[in-house]
């Protein structure tokens, strides 16, 4: 089964490429079918946990956690492909886009099933490189560069950790190799730090978040959902490996403990907390909807990191579930924005408005997505955030809890902003004629919407898998009984919450319908302090939505200038070095070459 999936993936990449060369639209449909087949194939793997497959030097194995992550990734990829047929004419190299899209899919799925460290690294690099080449096809080439450099930092650190691990332990199998460090805390700390670095850069944890808004904001509209909903979650998997498979809590066992968390792990969690606060504050400021959602990914990455690093009964389950919830919600939100961008040609919130009167279904998709993202019941995001809150308050990690609360309430602010500025408010006359998104795009988006809703009402479907992961790790599993999700600090029955909410809604609906019908008036017939205004754009409140609040922190320093200065210095150094080797005068180059030859000869002789 596993072999078949892998072979199918590789074959389909070539197939999609050739097909797209002939007719890009067919290639786009091919990506849809391939990702669907991948989704079905991987979902069948659920029963065959423990199965291993080897291809020359690549070793794969089916694990529950790998299955869980691959399902998330495949769902996001699958729903994003519904948009592909409509975007082929906007891409410069549609054939390359389709092939790279599938290649990154194959890379990520391979990563989650990797059995040994080298396979892990190769799959990781495949996913990173292919996605980088796709980002480059978007609005900005610089964004792809920043993305690449940031990934390279993480990759190099991870490669170092992997080589060190293989060298020290003498084995490449992930589980066996990491156990070795139980006995050597000092080396273990180094490997842990280097290994998790790639996860941090990928998740966009502060201070490695700079690539995220750039890449998400300027990637092709169809790829942003995959970046945010899918590829960022690779970082979560690395975080999982480095804390759950790597015996981090044992390695740091002799460190200072803060409420049961070793100091190095606590420091990483604090970074997650900073990411939540920072991502929230920056998201509130953005004017571009996609950049706003990208910063929200930074904040949600913080939740996931904190949850996974806790490695306990509640917050760990919450963190893993949040990977799914955020992937679904974020992909849906990005796709809704892509649909709007398809029709209007912009994602700038100050230029849009009133889209609900033209694209009501897209509005509903976005609404459900943000309800989930903000963690409001009865959508999925609530359950995972609730579990993380329960875990944090149970342990008494008050600063992290403060950051989590800030990110949670702050998310109301930033998710409401596009809702209000893009979909609600006044409809500009230039958008008077636009139509609802195509049915195929709507199907993709509505699939995610239905998932968000289902995850909220019956979260235990997913929590059952997570409980199994917890059992495999040897920690207390999350308690689920029927529709009740229980923790040590109390339980919640999401089905009941949904029912009660529906009951309240129904009561008020009856009240509303019993009362006399309202008269429909135009949007411009609104209270304007009795002044006559005939320009809808002037009545639309979209610029600097939270101006008084933004003003409180707009002067705060940003890390971006620091990176810019660093890159400038690096560039200068490179140019300086370049003058040594490639000077206009040939004699200098000849000198270096001769020196090199002498060195090689001398060294070789020895």
């Amino acid at each position: 089964m596993m072999t078949m999936i892998i072979l199918f993936m590789i074959a389909s990449i070539l197939f999609a490429y050739v097909l797209s060369l002939k007719e890009p639209k067919w290639g786009a449909y091919a990506t849809l079918i391939v990702s669907l087949a991948g989704l079905v194939g991987v979902s069948l793997l659920r029963g065959s946990v423990g199965e291993t497959v080897s291809f020359y030097y690549l070793h794969f194995t089916v694990t529950t956690i790998g299955w869980y992550f691959s399902m998330i990734l495949l769902t996001v990829y699958f729903t994003a492909t519904f948009f592909h047929p409509f975007w082929m004419d906007q891409l410069i190299y549609p054939a390359a886009y389709n092939a790279l899209f599938l290649l990154s899919l194959a890379g990520t799925v391979g990563l989650f099933f990797a059995q040994d460290l080298m396979t892990l690294f190769i799959c990781w690099e495949t996913a990173v490189w292919s996605s980088m080449l796709i980002v480059q096809q978007g609005k900005s080439r610089q964004a792809a560069w920043v993305y690449f450099v940031m990934s390279a930092i993480g990759s190099m650190a991870t490669l170092f950790a992997i080589l060190l691990t293989i060298f020290m332990s003498g084995t490449t199998m992930i589980t066996d190799a990491f156990i070795y460090f139980m006995g050597s805390p000092a080396l273990g700390g180094l490997v842990f730090g280097a290994f998790i670095l790639s996860g941090l850069t990928k998740m966009g944890i502060f201070p490695f978040h700079v690539w995220l808004p750039l890449a998400h904001g300027s990637a092709p509209h169809t790829f942003s959902p995959v970046l945010s909903g899918g590829l960022v979650k690779m970082g979560a998997y690395i975080a999982y490996l480095s804390v759950a498979v790597f015996p981090a809590y044992q390695v740091f066992g002799d460190q200072l403990m803060l409420q049961g968390v070793p100091l190095p792990i606590y420091a990483l969690m604090l970074l997650g907390g900073v990411s939540i606060v920072y991502g929230t504050l920056r998201a509130i400021q953005q004017d571009d909807a996609k950049r706003l959602l990208a910063y929200s990914s930074v904040a949600n990455g913080g939740y996931i990191l904190i949850g996974i690093l806790m490695l306990d009964q509640m917050a760990f389950a919450g963190g893993l579930m949040h990977v799914l919830n955020h992937a679904v919600a974020s992909a849906a939100a990005f796709l809704a924005m892509a649909a709007v961008a398809k029709r209007t040609g912009t994602t700038k919130m100050s230029e849009l408005g009133g889209m609900i009167h033209r694209m009501p279904v897209t509005y509903v998709v976005y609404l459900i997505a943000i309800i989930s993202m903000a963690g409001i019941p009865p959508m999925g995001g609530f359950v995972s955030k609730w579990l993380i809150f329960q875990g944090l308050s149970h342990r008494g990690l008050i600063f992290l809890a403060t950051a989590a609360a800030f990110g949670s309430i702050g998310s109301y602010l930033y998710v409401f902003r596009p809702l209000s500025a893009v979909f609600l408010g006044q409809l500009a006359p230039k958008y008077e004629k636009i139509k609802e998104a195509d049915p195929l795009m709507l199907i993709g988006m509505l699939l995610l919407t239905a998932m968000s809703l289902l995850l909220g009402i019956v979260p235990n479907v997913v929590l059952r898998t997570i409980a199994q992961i917890q059992i495999e790790l040897g920690i207390d599993p999350i308690m689920i009984k029927g529709t009740i999700t229980a923790t040590q600090n109390g339980s919640v029955n999401m089905l009941s919450v949904f029912t009660v909410f529906g009951f309240g809604f129904l009561l008020i609906l009856i009240l509303f319908l019993v009362l006399p019908k309202s008269r429909r008036v135009g949007l411009m017939d609104t209270y304007t302090s009795a002044e006559f205004i005939h320009t809808p754009e002037l009545l639309h409140y979209g610029h600097h939505f939270y101006a008084p609040f933004e003003r409180l922190y707009e002067k705060w320093p940003s890390v971006l200038p620091l990176y810019q200065r660093l890159s400038l210095k690096l560039k200068e150094m490179g140019e300086w070095a370049e003058t040594f080797f490639f000077h206009a005068e040939p004699n200098r180059a000849v000198f270096w070459m001769v020196l090199l030859v002498i060195l090689i000869t001398v060294g070789g002789a020895r």
Partner: protein
Amino acid sequence: MTLMSFVYGFLAILGAFVFQTSLTGINRKVTARLQKRRGPKWYQQFIDIFKAFSKSSITHGWVYDFGAIMALGGIAATVIFIPVAGFQSFPGLDNIFVISYVLAVGMLGMAMSAAGSGNPWASIGVSRALTNMLAYDIPFMVIVFTLIYQHQTGSVSELAALQQGAGIWGWNAFQLPLGGLVAVIALFGMLGKKPFDSFIAPAEIASGPMVEYGGKQLGMMFTLHELMTFIEVSLILNLFFGGGETLWVYLLKYAVLYTFTNIVSGVMPRFKIDQAVTFFYKVPLGLALVQGLLVIFGGWGY
């Protein structure tokens, strides 16, 4: 979950509405007396709400109506979750986070409906309301985290029950005095009482989110306001003032607490929204963190 639960839930909504609306009317009289006026009749608030329902109304599109229904529906559902003197229509649903997040459904609905009217005042009001929420909720949440850590339970009714039996000194407001202070300040922000009422400033932004509501939608918003007040005061009452052993004790405590906030806000000016944020992040958040650290690392309250 039986049919009776729904009946009790409906009665809870109705009771909360009647009680809080009467109390609002009485408090309008109290405010009037503070200002040396005679004030309206005690049932004036009922007349106002029913009058709004009796008038004709307009709509600005489906989201304007849908948001209003979602707002009032969400808030009405939240009332069902609130344990009153230990009684709940649906036992086991009173987790503090559930209540505070279900409350957000109603707020989101209201914000959606208001912004859907296309009026810029409404959007400004919503932006202020959300900013205000970000300000008061963080100190409050920190105290809630502290309470959950201390008592190892997140259930509101259990937290209320734990305070009973030891008299007035068993209340969290006296056990954790800093936290109690923070909670009461946060209550002012929750209720939108002065000095934190800049999001409905009538003369400044034409009553903010409410600007376009008239007729039945206005009546629904007034009802929503009464129910939301009930939820918020009940939450603080249950968490910090020991709830109530019997219904009458509960209602009496409730009336005292609400009247207290009303009297204090009657003599307050209004903060600008950025001043409110700065205030909440300086004083109450600081106090809340100090209280939390004392409980978690200092062992206070054990």
